[in-house]
Amino acid sequence: MNFEHCIRCTICVENCPVMRVNPDFPGPKQAGPDAQRFRSDREKAEDDWVLLCSQCKRCEMACPCGVEPAQIILKAQQRYGLEHPHSLAHVLFANNYYLSMLGSFTAPIANRIAATKIGKKIFDAMSIATYIPFPKFRFHKLSWKKRTPNRRSRKVAFFYGCFINFYRPDIGRKIIQLLKSFNVDVVLPPQWCCGLPALGNGNLQLARSFALKNTASLSNYIDAGYDILYSCTSCGLCLLHDYQDIMDIPKAKKIAENTYNLHEYILRLVDDNYIKPQFQEVPRKLAYHIPCHLRALGIGYPAAKLMSMIPGLTCEIIDDNCCGLSGSYGFKKSNESTAISIGNRAVARIKKTCAETIVGDCGSCRMQLGGLSGLVTLDPAEVLSESLGITLTKKIKS
């Protein structure tokens, strides 16, 4: 039990974005290792304040003793969820994958309704917060491409994740073009939601079902010599950490051993001299908001290194603030004011840089920061694409 190692140093407390703004959340130390000494199977769970944890994982990244407070809290959330009914919002977000499928299929109509007053009322009734506009669904999402002519020595299976798939498939297509321009074969393996929304909203069973399907599919590609790439840092953390440590998926270790962050992978291509990218000038001033889950992945900031090779680009790294949205956390009405307070703090810090554009790997972060600040947001892949002259062809299918 790693809570045994906690020396109560409060470094996790210093990092918790929720506790900072919401006095109802006792903090990662108290909700995690402190309370854990008292949790017993012999009584009903009544620690509802564990639901306030946004699972940003900053506490885990900061702990010098190897304690994982967020994981302890997640287990407590699951236990609480088993004994108390979930709110409608929880159920909806757990099933985000299926709802997004529906939203995508009915895209133009769904988007239009969402933007109207009736749409807002529907969201209110479902306890969904509307302080930032709900992302627009895209009808033409990415489709599985199981095979690729086996020409190149580097080949990857791209795990694109729900955000790119349902809301920004254009970024996905740019990434595919980018990789192709680097002489890398790209397939889009059969894939489902990584399972994080289900996990974070108390549906472990659904999360596991996604995880098992993903693992089976990706495993086949690994056996065939493909590396797995992810671009969304939350999907990445889920695949690499949660599959093994929380969902107990067999073969999860194999997945973790062969899965890379997109930029980590590109950097490897550079280090191995497989590519010599000719980055052209991009005269932009960027504020790079580091997603909490990227910090927790332990791979450094590879996109920052790549962007530092682009002439004319100023990129100031800000890694001290959580954006506050935390996936579906901020979209729940009960967390709305917390998410806004956290987000405003992050925006204030970003605005101090006087950058016109915010760049960040996580779609969720971009929605939140863009929505609260009014600034333009970009995925680092978009910046790299711009520098390398990658544009999308007119054809919709890739």
Partner: protein
């Protein structure tokens, strides 16, 4: 295995590690810093203690026992390290006050005087004796600070309470970063019509803008204002850490969070790489030289088993005061506990003694014979030994 090459790899993100890294990065070396969590510095008062044994720290250093690692650092390097530190902090908007040859004091939360050498500007106005009358402002619900302790030691002290709406140290500090909050607070403060000579606060006056905020309050109210360091969570410690970290990155260094070192690659007398498990996919960083700054027990650099003390990364020989019974004396306040001397013994180049490695350099709290609390030499020793280690490292690489 993914592999990346650096000139120097720093292990540990404390004052020593970040300073050594900055020194090298600033001179054009390719530097990576890896850490498994955040350092003990986050919990400290933020003050740079050099040597409290004498009113002149440099004289105090000369009077230290012969085995003390401070003797390995030429006085000119000690001065250089303090100057560089002050310059760096000025650059990052967190100026430090003080001179190398004169100690000063900071008022502690118990009302005692803490001796230090360089203190953050927010503590510059702290009284140096019992003469000044003080008015303490504390915050409703802040459980980590009690003005009554100070009042019990200084008769000429009064206090008032302000309700900030949040009760945690981080929460209040975060609020002070907001203009609106600061304005209404200053308005309230002026209304208090304070008569005492100086105004004191627990150290919650902001995060990155603390120096500015304290200055603003002092100017607007027309009285000197100073902070009193609190028990952890400690804002001055966090500000110091954030400033050092951002400065290191500004000079071109890379930081890898969540990077516990689980193994080492070596060849003959040379360490070639350090490895981490990285969620199941081992990844390693190659370096020409390694600087070990992982701290003492709290920091995680040393581990005490029931019978012996080990160094966790390179398994360097550790000087232990004797068997477990000798680690502590009966008197808690003896300031002479044997455990304060435990650590890594080094030669004049700060290479570990009794080990064959050519390219490891050791600095900071992990060194043997430091007795940090007895000698009042924590961060100051870290700065000085970090400079020496970085210089030795630089020589080695060239």
């Amino acid at each position: 295995m993914s592999v990346t090459e650096y000139d120097a790899i720093i292990l540990g993100a404390g004052v020593a590690g970040l300073t050594a890294g900055t020194f090298l990065a600033g001179r054009g070396f390719k530097v990576a810093l890896v850490t498994s969590g955040e350092p003990t510095a986050c919990l400290s008062t933020g003050c740079i203690d050099v040597c409290s044994r004498d009113s002149n720290p440099l004289t105090g250093i000369n009077g230290l026992p012969p085995a003390h690692p401070f003797h390995l650092v030429p006085e000119i390097t000690i001065m250089e390290s303090l100057n560089n530190f002050q310059a760096a902090m000025m650059d990052m908007g967190l100026p430090y006050t003080g001179v190398a040859d004169e100690n000063r004091v900071v008022l502690s939360a118990l009302g005692t005087f803490k001796t230090s050498c360089l203190v953050p500007s927010t503590m510059k106005a702290a009284p140096q004796d019992a003469k000044d009358s003080i008015h303490i402002i504390t915050f409703a619900g802040l459980k980590d600070f009690y003005p009554s302790y100070v009042i019990s030691r200084r008769k000429n002290t009064k206090f008032s309470v302000y309700d900030a709406g949040v009760v945690s140290t981080m929460g209040i500090a975060s609020l002070f970063e907001e203009k609106e909050f600061l304005e209404s607070f200053i308005a309230w403060l002026k209304d208090q019509n304070i008569n005492e000579d100086k105004i004191a606060f627990p150290a919650v006056l902001g995060l990155e803008s603390a120096a500015e905020i304290v200055q603003t309050i002092a100017t607007r109210v027309g009285k000197p204002v100073f902070e009193i360091p609190t028990i952890p969570p400690s804002m001055p410690g966090r500000r110091l850490f954030n400033a050092l970290k951002d400065y290191f990155r500004k000079k071109g260094g890379d930081i890898y969070w969540e990077w516990p070192v689980i193994g080492v690659e070596k060849s003959g007398k040379i360490i070639e790489a350090v490895m981490t498990a990285s969620k199941g996919r081992p990844s390693s960083l190659n370096g020409k030289a390694f600087i070990l700054a992982t701290g003492s027990f709290v920091g995680g650099g040393l581990t005490a088993g029931r019978d012996s003390i080990t160094e966790n990364i390179f398994n360097l020989p550790v000087l232990a005061p004797g068997p477990r019974e000798t680690w502590f004396e009966n008197d808690y306040f003896s300031f002479n506990h044997g455990i304060g001397r435990a650590g890594i013994k080094v030669d004049s180049s700060l290479r570990p003694e009794g080990s064959l490695w050519e390219n490891i350099f050791v600095c900071g709290g992990i060194l043997a014979d430091t007795e940090i609390l007895k000698n009042g030499c924590g961060h100051g020793l870290a700065l000085a030994t970090a400079h020496l280690a970085a210089k030795s490292c630089m020589e080695y690489i060239r």
